[in-house]
């Protein structure tokens, strides 16, 4: 298992490197870096200072070096709007996003996995058809629209839930639901097909031949095996979730990094945008690594790999 983790960590480092390269490339080469990195309404002196600070008239590799060294120091520039370092801004908002993502992911697994298992065990019958319908709708409705509809129903018409902000668990319900709905459908689908595949395997046949009660066959033998691809997908989906969280956080004014990104683009605060994108990408790399480690622990075939 150690070798596996080391390999994965190495791969993560490579991804981080490539990420920084990509960001750097796009800013320097496709945009107008001076205009972006200078505050709106900057004087020619300010712009000259920017040129100096970022070395915009020096060769590209020098610029990259400057870029990377400030990244290593944790200096991602200063937000124009907030007049605070991007890094500290990001770190202060990060827990909110993690909280939202965790709840949404938990919701998607709690709904998705049992309904997928139910659909597989009752394949072809009512629960399976209901599940397929749920999956279809869930995968086709954009999450931010679901969020808007939820606000319409629960805040405007029923007045039960607050429509924006954070602070109480009540604030968390609708954003988590809107965010998690799509993934609940995706997880349900995969659980169902994974379960169906497992149920057709030889060891399940043997479990039945042994005379085990059907509940044990499903709950013990089928379940754990069927779960593996689903957890892999869930791990990958965490990444996608952070993507989608941008719009959901905007709809609900949830104070997370997604909303921070939105503020950045609305206020034309480029250092903020760049910083959030870099840190977001880095976070995803770490999340993927963590998922790989969890995966290694669950599956004994990897755990015992020499």
């Amino acid at each position: 298992m150690k070798q596996y983790i080391i390999r994965r960590a190495g791969y993560a480092l490579l991804s981080l490197f490539l990420l920084s390269l990509t960001i750097f490339f796009f800013v320097r080469v496709t945009g107008d870096p001076a205009a972006l990195l200078a505050e709106p309404g900057a004087s020619p002196d300010d712009i000259a200072a920017i040129h100096h600070q970022f070395g915009l008239d020096r060769p590209l590799w020098v610029q990259y070096w400057i870029f990377m060294s400030s990244l290593f120091r944790g200096d991602l520039g200063q937000s124009f709007y907030y007049q605070t370092p991007v890094m500290s801004l990001y770190l202060s908002r990060l827990p909110n996003s993690l909280q939202l993502a965790a709840v949404a992911m938990a919701f998607s697994l709690l709904i998705g996995i049992p309904s997928g298992i139910l659909a597989a065990v009752r394949v072809g019958r009512f629960w399976d058809s209901a599940g397929k319908l749920f999956a279809l709708l869930g995968l086709s409705m954009p999450s931010f629209w679901i969020g808007l509809l939820l606000i319409l129903l629960f805040s405007v018409y029923l007045g039960w839930l607050p429509s924006s902000g954070a602070g109480t668990p009540l604030h968390l319900i609708m954003p988590a639901f809107a965010l998690g709905w799509y993934f609940a459908a995706a997880h349900m689908r995969l659980t169902r097909s994974s379960m169906l595949e497992v149920l057709g395997s030889e060891y399940i046949k043997l479990a039945r031949i042994k005379g085990l009660p059907e509940s044990l066959v499903i709950a013990k033998h089928a379940f754990k095996n069927a779960l593996i691809p689903v957890l892999t997908l869930a791990g990958i989906n965490l990444v996608l979730m952070i993507n989608v969280a941008v719009v959901v956080e905007t709809v609900f004014a949830w104070p997370g990094i997604g909303r921070l990104l939105y503020e950045g683009i609305t206020f034309r605060d480029f250092p903020l945008v760049q910083g959030v994108v870099i840190l977001g990408g880095a976070m995803i790399v770490f999340v993927n690594l963590a998922v790989d480690v969890v995966y290694a622990v669950i599956d004994p075939r990897i755990r015992l790999e020499r």
Binding site: L18, L36, L136, L152, V156, V246
Partner: protein
């Protein structure tokens, strides 16, 4: 392998895979109908829309749909905050969604397929470069990447198309490359090499037609994703810029009226998006099963 005495005349396109027969009962009527209807609406928007989608009458702002009190048949689905007719905006929005959606998918598909074939077939440093590129791209979530790019180059409809194409090509490249790798080992490719075809001929005339199936399935599956991405970008304000009636933009505008219960500004554009995505997903699923069951893991 002995060389033949005379030159082999290779058939213009060798299709090693069985094509499933089309039976009428299998045709997915619902998604095709939806996509057909939306396409029709998009093409004939000028004729179908009752009002100008970009200019409204301020005095008629926030009118509800005709079946509610305060509404009228003049504005069937109500008006928005600038007095613009929602129905007309939806109709012209179909045009935008179709254009952006299809073009972006084609751009991404083109880049991805070309690079996928090159990377898979030529191998070596071409492969390495393309693979590292896709790795770099995939380190960033697509939407975030798109937002980032839009922030740099500024939003406009065609910029969005290019951005979305640039963000999503990696999905194609990976899958096509895998296909090409397995196709490379097949008999008909070896035959072509032996017969002296140049690498370009092989890639163009032998490999390309065989990955077309996969590319088409991928394109349909990506259509839904791209449409939601465009709607999200427009909703955030970095997509198609106002006053163009993109559905995502309508949702952003609609948020203003949401808290006072102007539901029609939110519900209708969302339904349109959902129908489009639903149709694309259903069509994609059907195609995937029909054209190649091996793609089921996508």
């Amino acid at each position: 392998m002995t060389m033949p005495a005379q030159t082999i005349a290779l058939p213009p396109r060798v299709v090693p895979r069985r094509r499933s027969r089309f039976r009428l009962g299998d045709v997915p009527i619902f998604p095709l109908f939806i996509i057909g209807a939306i396409t029709f609406i998009a093409i004939f928007a000028n004729q179908l829309a009752p009002h100008n989608p970009e200019i409204g009458v301020l005095a008629h702002r926030f009118r509800p749909p005709f079946w509610q009190t305060g509404g009228s048949t003049q504005y069937l689905l109500g008006t928005d905050q600038l007095g613009r007719d929602v129905l007309s905006r939806l109709i012209f929005g179909a045009r935008i969604s179709m254009i952006v959606g299809f073009t972006a998918v084609i751009v991404a598909g083109f880049i991805g397929t070309v690079l996928g074939i090159a990377s898979g077939y030529l191998g070596g440093w071409v492969d390495q470069i393309v693979m590292r590129l896709t790795d770099a791209w995939l380190a960033l979530p697509a939407l975030t990447f798109a937002i980032f790019l839009a922030a740099i180059v500024g939003p406009s409809m065609w910029n969005i198309v290019i951005i979305l194409g640039a963000v999503y090509w990696t999905r194609y490249a990976r899958v096509i490359r895998g296909e090409v790798l397995s196709l490379k080992e097949r008999e008909f490719v070896r035959l072509a090499i032996v017969a002296g075809c140049s690498r370009w001929t092989i890639m163009l005339r032998h490999i390309l037609p065989n990955v077309l199936n996969t590319a088409i399935v991928l394109a349909t599956l990506m259509l839904g994703v791209v449409i939601v991405a465009e709607a999200s970008l427009s909703f955030l304000g970095v997509g198609v810029p106002p006053p163009k009636p993109a559905w995502g933009l309508m949702l952003a505008d609609g948020k203003q009226g949401l808290m006072v219960g102007y539901w029609w500004l939110t519900v209708f554009p969302g339904v349109c998006i959902m129908l489009m995505v639903l149709a694309a997903n259903l069509l994609g699923d059907w195609l995937r099963v029909k054209l190649d069951p091996q793609l089921r893991q996508l």
